[in-house]
């Protein structure tokens, strides 16, 4: 019978206790405690899903890949040495799985985009992009969304992942280097090159 999950301390001095708690959960999950692993899944599901979704621009694929990543991570927990955080390790699994998936079906990618949330229509920066800067076109947010995703899909997988992790998800160069298992210089140069490509693809919206 699995041990019950320890209650979360609400006023925990943030990161340290958070990390400890993660370690506890990982240790329990490694022993086969699915309740502990359920807690870990709930903690990271949104970030993992978002990363995979931004890489594939397809909700159904992102759903499958995110679930498979969590399943694979659970099965490989015994090989997790704790050299990095569980989150970084999990991220690496999801990113590698997604890149392999994209390589396999390179020639038949299709987008299945999620809807924009309510806040998008009230974002002054976005509204400026479609109204003031491009008055000559009747561009709506959904059209802009399609153009942006199409431009992202034209990037190679290593360049796309760097843009997604840094510019969309706000991760640091150091964290991205850990996830991608490369040095920070590589991350910076990929980011620069990817941005240049995106600029030329989306020039109409950036004038």
């Amino acid at each position: 019978m699995a041990d019950p999950i320890e209650p979360v301390e609400p006023n925990a001095a943030s990161e340290t206790k958070e990390e400890v708690r993660e370690e506890v959960l990982v240790r329990r999950a490694r022993r086969g405690d699915l309740k502990a692993y359920d807690e870990l899944v709930k903690r990271y599901q949104e970030r993992i899903y978002a990363t995979v979704y931004h890489m594939t621009s397809n909700h159904e694929d992102a759903n499958d890949l995110a679930q498979e990543s969590f399943i694979k991570a659970f099965q490989a927990l015994s090989s997790f040495k704790g050299g990095s955080s569980f989150y970084t390790w999990l991220y690496r699994i999801a990113v590698n799985k997604t890149i392999n998936f994209l390589k396999q079906r390179k020639n038949r990618l299709h987008m299945s985009l999620n809807d924009l949330d309510f806040n998008a229509e009230h974002d002054p920066d976005l509204m400026a992009l479609i109204s003031h800067k491009t008055p000559q076109r009747d561009a709506g947010l959904s059209e802009l969304q399609e153009k942006l995703n199409a431009a992202l899909m034209k990037l190679s997988e290593p360049h796309r992942i760097v843009v997604v992790l840094h510019d969309v998800q706000g991760q640091s160069h150091e964290d991205i280097a850990k996830v991608m298992d490369c040095n920070i210089g590589t991350v910076r140069s990929r980011l620069f090159y990817a941005r240049q490509q995106l600029q030329s693809e989306l020039a109409d919206y950036l004038k």
Binding site: L34, Y37, D38, V41, K42, Q45, E46, Y49, Y53, H54, H59, N63, D64, A66, Q67, E68, F70, I71, F74, Q75, Q104, R105, N107, R108, L113, N114, D115, L116, D117, N119, A120, D123, D125, L126, A128, L129, L141, L144, Q145, L148, N149, V163, V164, D167, V168, R195, L198, Q199, L202, Y205, L206
Partner: protein
């Protein structure tokens, strides 16, 4: 350089649109439950689908299917070959004698004259039931006709059929 940085800022604002793309409402409510359920069921990979065990036992089959997924033209060619084989099988099963008749004369034409005579005898023999079969050899192409008891010249008994007793 400044212009480029400014452009990067504009690009950053545009990329912020991605953060507003959200999955259907309530999507994450059941996400972890689905993951845990799949782990419990031992579904190692969603790719495997309902044939998971089959793919685990025969991984080459999964590779085969993935090749078809990657190159649909291969799947079309494979399906065409299967279809042609199926049609050929149906045609052949409906007209087995036609295939035999067309084959035997072609074979007999390439043999000597005496050989042609014997082959012709065989060719007509398994259809002509009044002909005695002294050698005891029967063409394997038509065994059912040659085993008909009523067609035997030996008083209604076929020499190829021997009574068998199961008691000692």
């Amino acid at each position: 350089m400044n212009e480029q940085e400014a452009n990067f800022e504009a690009l950053g604002r545009l990329l912020a649109l991605k953060r507003h793309e959200v999955p259907p409402p309530g999507y994450f409510n059941n996400f972890s439950t689905q993951v845990i359920t799949q782990i419990r069921l031992g579904e190692t990979a969603k790719d495997d689908g309902p044939f998971g065990r089959l793919f685990v036992e025969a991984p080459w089959l999964l590779k085969f299917i993935r090749v078809f997924e990657a190159k649909p033209a291969y799947a079309g060619a494979f399906a065409s070959v299967l279809f042609l084989l199926l049609v050929a099988g149906i045609v052949y099963s409906n007209n087995p004698d036609v295939a035999t008749e067309t084959f035997v004369p072609a074979a007999s034409a390439s043999t000597s004259s005496s050989g042609s005579a014997s082959l012709a005898a065989v060719n007509t023999g398994f259809l002509d039931q009044s002909m005695p079969q002294t050698s005891g050899l029967v063409s394997s192409t038509n065994p059912v006709l040659s085993l008909e008891p009523s067609s035997s010249p030996f008083g209604g008994q076929n020499p190829l059929l021997q009574p068998v007793g199961f008691t000692r």
